[in-house]
Amino acid sequence: MSATTLLVESSLVLSFFFIFLFLMYYKYLSVKTEVDVAALNENYYDYSSYLREKKKGGGAISPHSFIMNDSKSIGIRYLITSLIFFFIAGTFGVIMRVSLVEPQPTLFAHREVIYDILTTEHAILMIYMWAIGSALGLAYYLIPKFINMKSDRYGNASSWGYWIWLMGGLFILFSRTSTRWYYYPPLALQLNPYGAGAMNWLAVIGLEFIMIGVTIAAIVIVRNIIYERSDSMPLSKMPLFVWSVLFTLIMFLASAPFLMTAMVMLFYDFFNPVFFTGSSSSPLYFTELFWVWGHPIVYIAILPQFGLIYEIIPKFTGNKVYSYSSGVIALGLLLPLSELVWGHHLMESGLGIEWGLFFSTASFLVVIPSAITVFNYIGTLWTSEKIRLTIPMLFVINGIMDFVFGGITGVLTAILPFNEQTHGTYWVTGHFHFVFMGITVGIAFAAIYMIWPSLTGGRIYSRRLAGWHFAFTSVGSMIMSMGWVVGGFMGMPRFVSGYFARYMVYQDVAILGGVIIGIGQLFFLANLMISTAKAPQVEPSNVFEEVYRKAEISGGE
């Protein structure tokens, strides 16, 4: 082929391509104009919510939610994505656990790096993609109706936030990094399989992307809560879930810059190690920057679920929340306290006894709001006539109990001498798996079961399968975390692919629990597939939103 022919042919192909693009754009514009006019005629602010409610079945799981930019569609996007990542990271967790069946590495013998990769990916994906993702999804999905939002603006920005967040998660997944979830240098800077993995730089970019995406989402939601709240709903009557999301996102916005800065500095250190590994700097600088963010994140992962518990309990007890104001105050107290306790992650790093005492005391202070919250739940349950033990309610009660277990094991580590014993052991793993399995996972699933008819367009879930899901999750997490807590108290170290033979019984107990949890989640998948295969049986109404929808009618001027 001569050069002239090539030129002519390629220009022809390009022209056709551009003509095609123009036609697509023309088609898009005309359809959008049509929909815009229709939406305007029906008094909808934006065409997406018009489309969703009038044409696409109203906020159900569907691929349409990935191209529509209204709050509900974005909430469904977050929910779908976070569920997918929950199962991916959960598989990693179960396989990683199974590989510990014997003291010597079994499944990953001679390739122990795979264990490090799995533990890192499990942690990062679970925290940033599942915990934050499901919380943002529920917030986007529920808050517009909770606060009777005046107009649904900034959907475009939310969409950008979602895609950036998703891209960050994919970067981390594909980087196969084996740095731990805290990215400590100098390990994070060693781009080889013995260090943090050859692609760890991609994981650093990925985490930065996640933070940018969640920041965008956080600003949009906070703005919606403050400015788009219905006039008939003063702050003093705002639902507790909205309060918890507001506090969570303010906490996020206050602490995220530390990590974002640290990540940029870490990325610069790949090229010129001046910030954390140079002669006049210390890796401890990074740990400080990380944990100023890293402690609030664990509250960010549970606070929205605290709010959801406040919303779920009244539905099944017929009782009001025992004390609304103390609930708000407790959620709000966690906001300043969470920023003061980062040092309890570094108590063995030589900060000195004064700082140790300060962080120890501050960590004990966190017990106060947590206890207020728990006693508020218990008070609500205590004063109710009868409690309907539905699946979401079972998840809630299990969550409260798990939180008590996790809270006690957690606050014990704030005692300085006790910390010396349990620092870096499975005690800590057991502590936060109690909380995360009970609150983050359990309550998120409880909320998903609550809005099931709304999510699936009028289907109802099989209560038998959901019951098995609950039973396996709660029993498995109790067995797993108990094995870890006891083993960790004996000094079983975390984050290693092998262990001393005397810890074998604790590890095997934890494996049993982990496998039970893994099997339990399959019931959820089966439930999802079976119930959506059937025909719709009920109105796709949302039990969460019913209460606040009525409030708009009666509470208006």
């Binding site: 696409k56 079945g57 159900a60 799981i61 569907s62 691929p63 779908i80 569920l83 997918i84 199962f87 991916i88 959960g90 598989t91 990693f92 396989i95 499944l107 990953f108 013998a109 001679h110 390739r111 122990e112 790096v113 795979i114 990769i117 799995l118 990916e121 997944l173 594909f174 196969r176 084996s178 800077l189 060693q190 781009l191 080889n192 399989p193 013995y194 993995g197 050859a198 730089w201 790949f270 010129n272 190690p273 590994t277 140079g278 002669s279 699936t456 367009g457 289907r459 998948l525 089966a526 999802l528 597939m529 119930s531 959506t532 295969a533 719709p536």
Partner: protein, 202 residues
């Protein structure tokens, strides 16, 4: 309205979980594509080389600055690093012709004691021909030179003390020997076939 979306989602979740697990199992586990130190290397001899650590450059006041070093294969090289200028230095040897933290670090002294005249010793046996870099991570622009490993001990070997007797052996990579199993386990072969099947399906 949503039809079979739930089923699609469920299948997608299971597929993605499995695929990602296979993807993780496929991660490279050996440095530099299999450049882990094999055990039982033949040792043909020992060579000693002394380097003076100075922020102005290696061997700053001792002849040529940052000399190119030429060593033969399978010789244990005993590096002696002598502090010159009260500043922190490291002797770090990386794979590849340029100094970068991203290539595999074969050897590093760590920061040597900052008193002039202090002597630090490390040794390493090069078992692959090629270009390596020796540098100081604190002064990566000034203190950097190249090491060339020849497959045969030719005439262009660096003028270094060559001795065939056993010398001060501080082999810094003994722990790496344990990690350096070049034989793949059965698991990886099984996974490989699973992966091949998944690629065929998609």
């Amino acid at each position: 309205m949503i039809g079979k979306t739930g089923i699609v989602l469920g299948v997608l979740i299971m597929l993605l979980s499995g695929l990602m697990l296979v993807f993780m199992f496929d991660a490279p586990t050996q440095s530099g594509g299999g450049l882990a130190d094999p055990s039982n290397l033949p040792v043909k001899g020992y060579m000693n080389i002394t380097l003076y650590a100075d922020a102005g450059g290696w061997n700053y006041s001792h002849g040529a600055i940052n000399p190119n070093l030429y060593f033969p294969l399978y010789y244990v090289i005993n590096f002696t690093v002598i502090e010159e200028d009260n500043l922190p230095h490291t002797l770090t040897i990386n794979q590849g012709p340029t100094e970068t933290a991203s290539s595999l670090t074969l050897l590093s002294t760590g920061q040597i004691t900052q008193s002039p005249g202090h002597v630090s010793k490390v040794s390493y046996e090069f078992f692959k021909a090629g270009i390596y870099t020796y540098w100081c991570v604190i002064h990566p622009t000034t203190m950097v030179g190249q090491i060339e490993i020849n497959s045969t001990a030719g005439n262009n070997t660096t003028a270094a003390t060559v001795s065939s007797t056993s010398n001060v052996m501080i082999h810094s990579f003994e722990s790496a020997h344990d990690l350096s199993i070049l034989v793949y386990s059965d698991l990886s072969q099984i996974l490989g076939s699973i992966k091949a099947m998944t690629y065929m399906v998609f």
